[in-house]
Symmetry: C2
Subunit: 201 residues, 2 copies
DNA sequence: TCATTTATTGAACGCTGTTCAGTTTATATA
DNA sequence: TATATAAACTGAACAGCGTTCAATAAATGA
């Protein structure tokens, strides 16, 4: 029942986002509640609704940050122009990233907007930015630089990898070890690329 | 606050399961609440807890039913012994199934047990049963009938397909049409199989 | 007929997202 | 400087959630 000047709007926004990230890292989606975030920054839950439309928006921003992190990590892989080598390196960077950020990575796919709510454009751009890294690594395989099958293959690999990691993580694949997950991911990439080469060359 | 003899335990169980399925079909996971299911069968929420340990168990049983349905549908595909042909047919059956049962299919992957809770064995068996259909179709590609890479490839295809359909469904792939989803799925299968053939033969 | 077991319920607990009247403070204006 | 306006913030409230449980009533066994 007061107005405080501890933090201005931007500071508060940053505080809330950091709190949300911290919670997501430690407790995942289930801990990401308005009252939880608010308590962590010393404000009431209602205050969050001055900064964000709703909780979904907060989750979306956390996820956008994760996509950016992933983009930066994958961006560190220096492309050699040899797709097989480059994709392998991207894959390892991807697996390392999700190994070290498993709760954030889960949130990326566990959080869903209500039915019929489209993803905002600024969020879609984050996805496209990651996909473009894959496209760049795959491009040398195709005759033209922006062959439609290049975009398609980037999406196949991205979503397939997601499926493998998600089901393996949820223990829904009748597999045993973390090594098995890596083996699945590598088999996907190796065979898919070998298939591309065989069919195109 | 009474005892009723409208239904015995088994009938009640069946009623609750059917109600849960109906709700899942129409409203997905978000509509699958104890009070919702109870209202639909004319009992109170507490009664459900005589039949099931908790809501998760109900969701698990709905999902087991969906896996059985999927298994039956895929089982209708007559295997020719030609992996490419057979896998293509299985893929089409799979895509048809999830096209006609999208909410049930989503529940299969949206619902998660609390952290650290293992899937019960009877549920894992349902997954294994579906995977074995894929293994049977892939088997002719490998020298021995139960080559380890055959099991592995079945898991790669199953989880990759899941990833493609899930991300496409959530509109997280920057794709446009349902046809694009089919194209991704077919690209996965075609290239993966071509790769297997190239590497093994 | 009476005791025991079983089925069922409604109320309750502690959560959830979200809204909002009410209050306090900062800022702009006169 | 005094006053009006705007902005920030809170606590309580609402309707919902999963789950538990004392109380009740009916069915069953003795």
């Amino acid at each position: 029942m007061a107005r405080r000047s501890d933090h201005n709007r931007e500071e508060l926004y940053a505080l809330a986002m950091q709190a949300a990230r911290d919670i997501a890292v430690h407790d995942g989606l289930k801990g990401l509640t308005a009252r939880n975030i608010a308590k962590r920054i010393g404000y009431s839950a209602g205050t969050l609704y001055n900064l964000f439309k709703n909780l979904d928006e907060i989750a979306l921003h956390v996820n956008a940050g994760t996509l950016d992190q992933l983009h930066d990590r994958l961006g560190e892989v220096a492309l050699s122009g040899k797709p097989k080598k480059d994709i392998r390196q991207l894959l390892d960077a991807y697996l390392d990233f999700i190994g070290g950020n498993d709760r954030l990575w889960s949130l990326l796919f566990d959080h869903k907007l209500p039915d019929g709510t489209p993803l905002p454009d600024w969020y879609r751009a984050r996805i496209a930015r990651v996909l473009s890294l894959l496209e760049a690594a795959l491009a040398p395989l195709f005759p033209e630089p922006d062959h439609p099958e290049c975009q398609l293959s980037a999406r196949v690999l991205w979503s397939s990898l997601h499926g493998i990691c998600q089901l393996a993580n949820a223990d829904k694949l009748e597999i045993v070890s973390d090594e098995d997950t890596r083996a699945l991911a590598h088999a996907l990439v190796e065979n898919y690329l070998a298939g591309l080469k065989a069919r195109l060359g």
